[in-house]
Symmetry: C2
Subunit: 341 residues, 2 copies
């Protein structure tokens, strides 16, 4: 690409837009559908009875590059993971770019190549896209929206509302890696050379768990707001309490150290490559082994269980501490780390 | 909503985000799927054989409010129209918001209510969404991404690549209204009280045309880059030339006057509620009548035809002028009106 930076003309709908599409987007993550050049991608008919799963996410993270990935990897993983939580086979992605005039073209190319690599890893295709350019000073380099479509096999029904007292709560790995990585990169803090974002596509991990534990109630990825938000949402959806055990929660010691130093609650820090899973107790061990069989689930653990709520106090999430006490885990109030994803 | 403006905490994943979702987004355009509160919307199985149409668009227009609509109306119409060009029944929308800290809450509410009204008019449902908040000075109030999913009946195949020499080219109404409206609103020019954006959902118009003229080759909406880009794209996709007649093109005189004064080529000005349709000559009259039967197609016209390309000069678009000469219609080079949609 001869243009060194993004120019307003790249969003014009004319010759320059065709150039950036051909030389950057299609060159990086082109597909048969994109190459057809129509306004909508036409996708094969699902098998009879397959329902659709549909989700979207916009990514505004800063910095755009960080240990463990970049905004392109996040943009694929975030939507793939959301669609996969429905128990769907994730198939198709859209990619909508909002570029700021002056954004370096070599960075855009690197991000687009990462989108391709991550989509390949997840086994999804980018089939449709859009490019907008905003004037200098009216964006922040690059924002990426992705939307994803997946196919849900007949008979599979997962929902946060299905959690039942007695169910086990599993977590696929260590908490807080993404949030602490972004914060320390942004602020030039160096807690440890070992902290990096966990951004990862978890659709294959989910598929493995569903095969081993077919009665899973739900999956949910604890992104913004951390596992505290996730568990409070599930408690509210299913009218239950959630109890997790401090000792059982996998955490990278360097990440925990950073949280303690900065006064963050690790339960509220964002993750981009972790999955919470609720399943019947009698399938918990099988689900755990399936998680651990996946490269992104090596540190998976059973971290707690679901309890009936007491009608007089609403749905609560409790942390059983190492001292044997219970404390209430609240949803994040206010803002902790803006623009974490 | 007690909050007067958008705050960083509204994108936190915590309590404040739940509040803006419940009180603004769900209150405006909530649906059964949104209410379920899962990470992905689960949508019914298509009929056997129905293929999917999938498209996305991000909207960064300024100003956010303009005669004829606002960014919310554009965000629904743009994606509905793109999905409809595949001959699909447009069913589901995602809405991803990027809000700037400090954006007035009353404006956000008005935009969300317009999204609901426009979605209702088009007969589509918002089934999934996302909210991000960026710091003051790193956005421009509001950017909206929508992605859309539609269902294509068996046996329907539309594509820009199917245009054939002899086919008729139709246009559903006057050119340039959206682009000139945005430009004159932005620059405080008042050409005429009669100019307003044409932003409109055209899925019902397309359905009417397909019923009357089942062998339509393709639809394409001439947005950024105007009809000049659209016809050049179709010529290139189908390896043909396109010839349109200056006299036949419907234009609002006030819009034409503004274009002449400002030195814009009306063929390159953006539209947000117009559709180009290419069909066999023997169905052109039926297609025209179907367009005119729709409130958004009252000014529809047959504006030209497709010709074979001369192999020595590539695919061209020609304008036959009122003087009987032909001039080449090029794609926009550079940028004409940034952030038109």
């Amino acid at each position: 690409m001869n243009d060194q930076t993004v120019l307003l003309g790249h969003g014009s709908g004319g010759v320059m837009m065709k150039r950036i599409i051909d030389q950057v987007f299609a060159a990086s993550y082109g597909s048969e559908e994109l190459a057809q050049g129509n306004d909508a991608a036409v996708l094969p008919a699902p098998e009879p009875g397959q329902r659709l799963a549909f989700s979207t996410d916009t990514f505004v993270v800063t910095p755009h590059f960080f240990p463990g990935g970049n905004i392109g990897r996040l943009a694929v993983c975030g939507t793939v993971n959301d669609v996969a939580t429905a128990g769907a086979q994730v198939k198709y992605l859209s990619v909508g770019m909002v570029l700021e005039e002056g954004f370096p073209m070599d960075q855009l190319l690197e991000i687009c190549q990462t989108i391709k690599e991550t989509a390949d890893e997840a086994g999804v295709h980018v089939v449709t896209g859009d490019t907008k350019v905003v004037n200098r000073g009216h964006g922040d380099g690059i924002y990426i929206n992705t939307a994803g479509v997946g196919l849900i096999p007949q008979g599979r029904n997962l929902s946060g509302s299905l959690c039942q007292p007695g169910d086990a709560i599993l977590l696929s790995g260590t908490l807080g890696d993404h949030g602490i990585t972004i914060m320390s990169t942004r602020e030039n803090l160096s807690f440890s050379a070992n902290i990096k974002s966990d951004a990862a596509p978890l659709n294959h991990l989910i598929a493995g768990v569903l095969e081993a534990a077919p009665d899973v109630r739900c999956f949910r990825d604890p992104t913004r707001g951390g596992i505290a938000s996730t568990l409070n949402e599930l408690a509210s959806q299913s009218n239950t309490d959630m109890v997790i055990s401090e000792d059982a929660i996998p955490v990278n010691p360097a990440v925990m150290g950073a949280c303690e130093m900065l006064g963050y609650d690790i339960l509220q820090v964002a993750n981009e490559g972790k999955m919470v899973c609720v399943c019947p107790q009698n399938q918990a061990q099988a689900a755990l082994e399936a998680m651990r069989a996946n490269p992104y689930g090596l540190d998976a653990a059973i971290i707690g269980h679901v309890e009936a709520s007491r009608p007089d106090r609403g749905n609560k999430v409790f942390l059983e501490t190492a001292f044997g006490t219970r404390r209430i885990v609240d949803m994040l109030v206010g803002e902790q780390l803006p623009r974490i994803c």
